[in-house]
């Protein structure tokens, strides 16, 4: 999981890249659609409040809701497994597949499966795993990683995809989106029919009926969960609501916030395995409820982040994400939400710097359908990083000195005088083109105003002072 290079290194390498250009282009489509659909929907704001209440209620009653959910699934003939961490989750899934003699596994999109690195685990056991969400399929074909929680190939252009398909699938080059879709569809359809098992994510689990809800735009989720003999649904343990009405509210804000759709094209509800008389459906259904660090988050100051419904709206409006793309974050969950989730799930080391990848502009909180207080949680994590002594020495020392100076008006006066004097030889017409020391990053890209020879305070005391 851990990446040896820092966020800044990865991000700087992506600046101005083809990948970053693709992100800029792709993301505008999302934000414009989201704004349009939110505006035309008069009760959007009210529904956001309700969705928030629902999600926070779920977090407060998580143990009870999960218990109830498990009872319902069991009564329907399915099986619920609880996995404490990634290893256990991978082991559970592998055992189900091995016991059922499954060798070819189809998957619909599941971020938690990326989080636990399920594919490589199963492939290591000799199974063939095929991603069927178009974006994930492309990612898998390219040996890449998803760069956005709902748009895994936001970083690729359709020409990139065209080149990939012609290379890996041996088809004639076309960059026509419809034709590319057809190619993937034809390729995958045959695999669906042969697959032994299907693995899906879960957008929401509903405690009262033991149902899992799956939202897709491509129909691959439905095929994954119904065509093969075995269906395994993977869910982060927070992904639950009490009742059907609650799920309906969340669905109203989810698609609107994610893609600017009123509703996703497919909303699948899966309630247990195939029943007598059902024409299709899996013989076995399993739900794997994964903790993997969530309990830890739940007991801390960033607990609210678990109310996230993974719409990706905060990524789309984040100035940092928009500039560098998701791969800069070096992990599955990117953008503002990822900067909180990742240190929570995988520890502060080496992920403590992600909360600093923010200008604190607040655009994320403004669009979050659950009104999660993202900036204030980023600040919590920054405070934690600072208290763990992770900040660079110059910043720690510099800020302590600054605090000493600014808590004493005499010192502050002298410091301004010195700064003005010292900068005088470096300045040209009141501006500095290059300064040494930790501030050099500023002047690498922009001029810096020179500290004034007469501060406002001094001016006041000379001209207005009593």
């Amino acid at each position: 999981m851990s990446q040896p290079v820092s966020f800044v290194t990865r991000a700087d390498a992506l600046l101005g890249s083809r990948e970053a250009a693709a992100v800029v282009k792709g993301i505008r489509h999302f934000t414009e659609a989201r704004d349009r659909v939110a505006e035309e929907f008069p009760i959007m704001e009210e529904l956001r409040d309700r969705a928030r209440t629902i999600r926070l209620h779920s977090l407060r009653h998580l143990d009870r809701l999960l218990g109830h959910f498990a009872d319902q699934v069991t009564a329907l003939g399915g099986t619920v497994h609880f996995a404490a961490d990634a290893d256990e989750a991978n082991r559970i899934v592998a055992e189900i597949l091995q016991r059922s003699g499954s060798r070819l596994v189809v998957k619909s999109k599941s971020m938690v499966s990326e989080e636990i690195e399920l594919n490589s685990h199963l492939e290591g056991l000799g199974m063939e795993v095929v991603e069927t969400d178009l974006g994930e399929f492309i990612v898998q074909l390219a040996g890449d990683t998803p760069s956005h929680i709902i748009a895994p190939v936001l970083h690729l252009t359709r020409q990139d995809v065209a080149a990939l398909f012609s290379e890996k699938l041996g088809v004639e080059y076309t960059d026509d989106p419809t034709e590319l879709n057809e190619i993937a569809r034809a390729h995958l359809r045959e695999i669906f029919l042969r697959a032994d098992a299907g693995i899906s994510g879960v957008n929401m689990a509903i405690a009262e009926t033991g149902s899992v809800v799956l939202v897709t735009n491509e129909g691959n989720g439905r095929l994954t969960t119904t065509a093969p003999r075995v269906h395994i649904a993977l869910m982060g343990m927070e992904r639950i609501v009490s009742r059907w009405q609650d799920a309906a509210v969340v669905l109203e804000v989810l698609a609107r916030s994610a893609t600017g759709q009123r509703l996703s094209v497919y909303t699948n509800v899966i309630t247990g395995p195939r029943r007598d008389g059902d024409p299709d459906g899996p013989e076995e259904t399993h739900v794997v409820v994964i903790d993997n660090g969530r309990s830890e988050i739940l007991s801390g100051p960033t607990a609210e982040i678990l109310a996230c419904i993974r719409c990706g709206a905060c990524l789309n409006v984040c100035p940092i994400f928009r500039t560098v793309g998701g791969h800069a974050y070096g992990t599955v969950y990117s953008g503002p939400i990822g900067s909180i989730v990742t240190p929570g799930l995988h520890g502060m080391d080496p992920w403590w710097e992600l909360p600093y990848a923010s200008t604190m502009c607040g655009a994320c909180e403004e669009v979050c359908p659950i009104r999660i207080q993202i900036p204030s949680m980023l600040l919590h994590l920054r405070e934690r990083a600072a208290s763990e002594g992770r900040l660079p020495g110059w910043l720690n020392r510099g800020m302590s000195r600054y605090a000493q100076t600014t808590t004493d008006p005499q010192k502050w006066r002298r410091a301004k005088k010195w700064a003005s004097r010292l900068s005088a030889p470096l300045a040209s017409r009141g501006w500095l083109r290059r300064i040494p020391g930790p501030g050099r990053g500023w002047t690498q890209y922009r001029d810096l105003p020179r500290p004034a020879s007469e501060s406002f305070n001094e001016w006041w005391r000379t001209n207005r002072g009593s």
Partner: protein, 241 residues
């Protein structure tokens, strides 16, 4: 309203790097009939430390600022959405449950960003001027999203020639110490903003926060752009050029 006593909190950046904005703010307030005091012990509100997570240092600076301001009377007017928000919102968090909680509440309740004070409290009429020039306005994030300020600047700028600035409510990439900790990313966000500023055809880029403005002006200068950058107080005071 005549002779209303107000306290001017200029912010550390205005004090040290942009005193002309402090003088413009003073002029605007006095012209609006206020009797302006300047608490001379003021330094920095502590936001730089708060934003990087050095909460103890932030609390020391905030405590100093509270002591300086709490012994004064009347509205505290700040030509910065960002520093206002620090006092209005974050001081309450910093001192929650401490013996300074009441003091923080008192000072927060008196603190107003400049455009907010002029429009919401004084009911001032539009008075910004910029003869023969067109103006693009950048809504800085903390004022916009933190304090909900937008209409106030729009109202004050009604009599100037405004040009539309694409993405005028999006972050400029400054982000406090972010601008030196992750300078390349900060500058890339800034560059997109500056492209839009230049494409807008504006002669003057105006905003309400010296912090974002010096980042943008520094970038414009580096490009050799002709666009001039001014704080809204300067337009209100008639110092547009």
């Amino acid at each position: 309203m005549e002779g209303q006593r107000v306290q001017l909190l200029v912010t550390c950046l205005v004090d040290a790097l942009a005193p002309q904005v402090g003088r413009a703010t003073l002029a605007v307030l006095e012209r609006s009939g206020c009797q302006v005091d300047f608490p001379e012990g003021q330094t920095c509100c502590g936001q730089p430390a708060f934003n990087v997570g050095l909460t103890d240092q932030a609390r020391e600076m905030a405590a100093h600022t509270l002591d300086v301001l709490d012994e004064t009377e009347g509205p505290i007017v700040v030509p910065s959405g960002s520093c206002s928000e620090m006092i209005v919102h974050h001081y309450l968090e910093l001192f929650e449950g401490t013996d300074r909680a009441d003091q923080a509440e008192r000072v927060a309740a008196r603190t107003r960003e400049l455009t907010q004070f002029l429009i919401d409290d004084l009911g001032a009429a539009p008075s910004a001027s910029c003869a023969g020039c067109s103006v693009a306005y950048h809504y800085s994030c903390h004022g916009l999203r933190g304090l909900g300020l937008q209409a106030q600047a729009d109202r004050l700028l009604e009599d100037v020639e405004r040009v539309e600035l694409d993405g005028d409510k999006e972050c400029c990439g400054f982000g406090g110490l972010f601008s030196v900790e992750m300078p390349a990313i900060s500058a890339a966000i800034m560059d997109e903003k500056l492209d839009r500023v230049e494409a807008s055809g504006a002669d003057v880029l105006v905003g309400g926060d010296v912090s974002c403005l010096m980042h943008l002006e520094g970038g414009l200068r580096r490009r050799g752009s002709k666009v001039v950058v001014r704080h809204i107080a300067e337009l209100l005071a008639g110092d547009e050029k």
